[in-house]
């Protein structure tokens, strides 16, 4: 059995969790085993249908008064109970802030290692083989984990969703006992950044700007362009972030975030090695730069050599005609 951890935010199942479960269920089918899902704490009413559709045969819901807010210690205790009881061959997490907080802690509790931020899972050889970018994508590591269960986090936006098929999963609720003194830290509050609903690591389209944006006003223009594109977010080069033009949570690159969107726009980003490492696995890359020699053009699928302050409004006008 392959178990997938399902992340709930604001009472909803996160898309990255459905992607992770979809991949788990494909691998489970390939080996004739089951894909099951686990929700810790409050579970949305629609979980049976949503997770069944993504391939789960069963949804375990682990409940306890100690699990009403997120705590790595409490959630790991709950997951440990289920893993020991059901002995899955693998446990997958989405490689989100929560998944990457929990998975290693669970791995250490079970005395196993893990594969982080995987971009491919191959089970054809009879063992689970993971591929993951290292050095922010400058290299690719293929590995197997020698101790079971194989714990992995899967990168958002890489694995396709299973097509909706009307299947439904059995929902099994279970109360777990979490000692109060086992939890030394818990989330006290979630503060939303103004208007930022989608993180660059989750967005399907990233509109990024670099040094040539010249200032914060340039990023306002990029935000306006991003607003015309569905499931998009604004990214930035290190120079732009270090100049204070936009917050560091938008930084893409080896010292920022590694992203794999369907479409990446690089406006005025020449292409420092550490930036390209963080975005070169994007499926389609568009570079706009007035310097035709900019290294970014070497990885771009489409390039426009020209003044980005002329291209941005032209592009915005063109996108508006689609609406």
């Amino acid at each position: 059995m392959i178990l997938t951890y399902i992340e709930i935010r604001d009472g909803k199942i996160k898309k990255s969790s459905l992607e992770t479960l979809s991949e788990a269920s494909r691998k489970a089918r390939e080996t004739g085993t089951a894909a099951e899902a686990v929700v810790v704490g409050a579970c949305p009413e629609t979980a049976g249908a949503d997770l069944g559709s993504a391939g789960a045969s069963k949804v375990h819901v682990l409940e306890s008064p100690e699990l009403s807010v997120y705590s790595s210690q409490g959630f790991v205790r709950a997951l440990e109970t289920l893993v020991r009881e059901t002995a899955p061959a693998a446990v997958f997490f989405p490689a989100t802030a929560m998944g990457r907080d929990l998975a290693p802690r669970l791995a250490a509790r079970l005395d196993v290692s893990l594969a982080s931020d995987c971009t491919a899972v191959d089970i054809s050889s009879g063992r689970i083989v993971f591929t993951r970018p290292v050095f922010a994508g400058k290299a690719r590591l293929t590995l197997a984990l020698t101790a079971a269960p194989a714990i992995a986090t899967l990168r958002p936006n890489v694995f396709p969703l299973e097509a909706a098929n009307g299947a439904s999963a059995e929902v099994v609720k279970k109360t777990v006992d979490i000692p109060v003194d086992a939890v030394g830290g818990r989330v006290s509050e979630i503060v939303c950044e103004m208007g930022a609903v989608l993180d660059v690591s989750e967005a399907e389209i990233v509109v990024s700007g670099g040094r040539a944006m010249k200032g914060p006003e340039g990023f306002t223009q990029l935000s306006e362009l991003a607003a015309l594109l569905p499931r998009s977010a604004v990214g930035a080069s290190r120079t732009a972030v270090d100049s204070g033009w936009i917050g560091h949570s938008h930084q893409v690159g080896q010292t920022g975030k590694t992203v794999s969107p369907n479409l990446y726009f690089a406006f005025g980003i020449s292409g420092a090695i550490q930036h390209m490492a963080g975005m070169s696995s994007s499926k389609v890359i568009v570079a706009v730069n007035k310097d035709p020699e900019a290294p970014m053009f070497k990885v771009a699928d489409y390039g426009i050599v020209g003044d980005l302050f002329a291209v941005i409004p032209a592009l915005a006008a063109e996108l508006k005609t689609l609406a």
Binding site: A97, A108, K138, A147, V187, V197, A272, D307
Partner: protein, 260 residues
């Protein structure tokens, strides 16, 4: 307030990586090595806490002997002591193995620590797992990807970055915290600091001295391959005025790339 800050020696982020496919390892020849950038925020935070609350800052690295300069950088920034735990293996990409060694260090040599500080993720292995694993092995609370840390007595609140929001985590000390850009602005070493750091010893100990040897150090990650990503074919440069190029771009993104 006693703080241990953990550092890793990594290839400079501005470096190109070359690979020895046979050895499944990065070629170190000609590479410039630096302290992992996220670790600098951890060192800075440790120093600020000591300046505000007293105590000492110990910098620790698990790695090859060549990691000593990384520790000297932390000493030059102002750390009181530094210890290198020597690893006889190349990069294993096994975060559990590293976490077990670091946790053993804390138990054996730094059991009175109030805070264990890490960078959010080392550049290279990119696992971002060692801090949580050390926290679990030592049964401590954790706060990862932290951009703000407030400590009052043994109570702490950390702001941690999650997708599109900030999460406030309240926890008690001792605890594990991993630092993210935004937490602070790391200081530069001063000449005086560099000179003083040169005079300080950097003791080298082995995992065996911490009670870990033999099978306890065997990696649980089997490296099957390490390769460069495939090269991309050259893209299309779209000619014309900005309006013409924009129109053609949107057409191609819709009909050829099918991403709009």
């Amino acid at each position: 307030m006693n703080v241990v800050v953990f550092l890793k020696r990594v290839p400079d982020t501005e470096s190109r990586i070359r690979i020895d496919r046979e050895a499944k390892a990065v070629l170190e020849e000609g590479l410039n090595f630096i302290i992992s950038p996220n670790d600098e925020y951890a060192v800075e935070e440790a120093l600020r806490l000591r300046e505000a609350k007293g105590g000492k800052v110990t910098a620790v690295s698990f790695g090859p002997e060549e990691a000593a300069p990384t520790l000297r950088k932390a000493l030059a920034m102002g750390a009181d002591e530094a210890v290198l735990v020597k690893d006889d293996r190349r990069e294993t990409y096994d975060s559990l193995r590293t976490a077990r060694v670091l946790a053993a260090f804390v138990k054996a040599r730094a059991a009175d620590s109030d805070l264990l500080l890490f960078g959010r993720m080392s550049v290279g292995s990119d696992n971002a797992s060692v801090p949580s694993m050390v926290a679990e092995i030592l049964s401590l609370p954790q706060a990862n990807v932290v951009t703000k840390l407030e400590i009052e007595g043994t109570k702490a609140v950390a702001h941690r970055e999650i997708e599109g929001a900030l999460e406030k985590v309240a926890f008690s000390l001792p605890a594990v915290v991993s630092a993210q850009k935004g937490l602070n602005e790391p200081r530069y070493e001063t000449l005086k600091g560099i000179m003083a750091a040169k005079k300080k010893p950097v003791p080298v100990i082995t995992p065996a001295e911490l009670g870990l040897e033999g099978a306890a150090l065997d990696p649980k990650v089997e490296i099957l391959d390490l390769e460069l990503p495939p090269a991309k074919p050259a893209g299309k440069i779209l000619p014309g005025t900005p309006e013409e190029a924009a129109k053609e771009l949107v057409r191609l993104l819709r009909t050829e790339a099918k991403v709009l």
